[in-house]
């Protein structure tokens, strides 16, 4: 399975070159290794128990890039990051995409999460989506900053919505990025209206 624009190589700010590509059906073992290497604290915020082989097996066996685009970050042949763009193909939120990103501990605070999110935002925009959302826990300062750089802002807070590994309840922050304005600019551009007629 291929996707236009990928694979793409990105150099992180420390000079490390990472390869980004969509997940493939034979990525199961490498992906499982990656998820199992994540600290429990990071895994807790994922929606499924990704240390179970059958869960990862389901990910790689039911690939449908139109519904979920899973993007893998690869360094020296191993998975060091995973990001997904989720979208509904019909219904009242078909214009909205959700981005989820998880990064290996040794690659955190090096710009990898931002790079994954940036590629997913670019892809979402190219699909014509109007709005993107991402969920972060209130103490995930780095993630909030990374999404902030891409135009995301806090739109809602669900109080005490998640519990961390110590049983502490924390707020879930829903970040949003309304990318429809770039399409409004494009719409103005194709309006075929003479600037001289304005006003």
């Amino acid at each position: 399975m291929t996707l236009e624009g990928f694979p793409e190589s990105v150099t992180l700010r420390d000079g490390t070159s990472v390869l980004f590509r969509p997940m493939q059906p034979d990525d199961g073992p490498a992906l499982l290794e990656f998820f199992r290497s994540l600290p429990e604290q990071d895994r807790l915020f994922l929606r499924e128990d990704v240390t179970r082989e059958e869960v990862v097996d389901r990910f790689v066996r039911h690939l449908d890039y139109d519904a979920v685009l899973p993007l893998i970050a690869e360094y020296e042949g191993r998975v060091v990051g995973d990001g997904t763009l989720h979208r509904d193909r019909h219904g009242w939120a078909a214009h909205v995409g959700e981005i989820r990103v998880v990064v290996a501990p040794e690659f955190q605070r090096r710009g990898l999460g931002t790079a994954i999110a940036r590629l997913l935002v670019r892809h979402a925009t190219s699909l014509g989506l109007d709005k993107l959302v991402a969920e972060v826990v209130d103490n995930q300062v780095g993630a909030k900053r990374a999404f902030g750089k891409l135009g995301f802002y806090p739109e809602a807070v669900l109080k005490g919505h998640v519990k961390d590994i110590h049983g502490t309840r924390r707020d879930l922050v829903i970040l949003a990025n309304d990318v429809s304005q770039i399409w409004e600019t494009m719409e103005a551009m194709v309006s075929d209206f003479s600037p001289a007629q304005e006003g």
Binding site: H123, T125, S126, I182, M186, M189, V190, S191, D192, Q197
Partner: protein
Amino acid sequence: MTKTEIRVGGLGGQGVILCAQIIGKAASIFDLKHSTLIQAFGPEARGSACSGQVTVSDEPIGYPYVKHPDILVVMSPDAYTQFAPQLKPTGILLYENELVTVDGRLPKGATAFGIPATRFAEELGRRLVLNIVMVGFFTGVTSLVSLGAVERAVRDSVPRGTEDLNMRALRKGYEYGRELVAVPA
């Protein structure tokens, strides 16, 4: 001197002028030819007839108005009705074939190539890139401007963040056009 006269016609809101502008920009700035653009708008912001006249030449252009185009690109029935009779008998008609029906108005000897550009644009995600599908189709059928030049002109013309979808729209139209003109094996 090789001079090609083009008219692009459609309705306000279809991106008619941007389509003409990109063809001219690709020819002049990126293919290093000469080109001129004349734009005509209707009185309303949307839905009124509008058109662009583009001339592309190897040498400086003394007269920019197009009366009898070599290539006519139409995206609406009204544009076809108005401009098809003006096409040169050896000319090429490129038309949105789910909106326009070709009839006896087309001069005998002219060649017509149709594309469902609006549907393609909707399938790609946004109806408003139909004009870029038409630019790609124009490039694929006529080869008047190079694909590389048109790609650069599109990237240079569209808002930041919309490049990917516009490039996919361009390639969709280009490939459809190449297939239509391909010589059967």
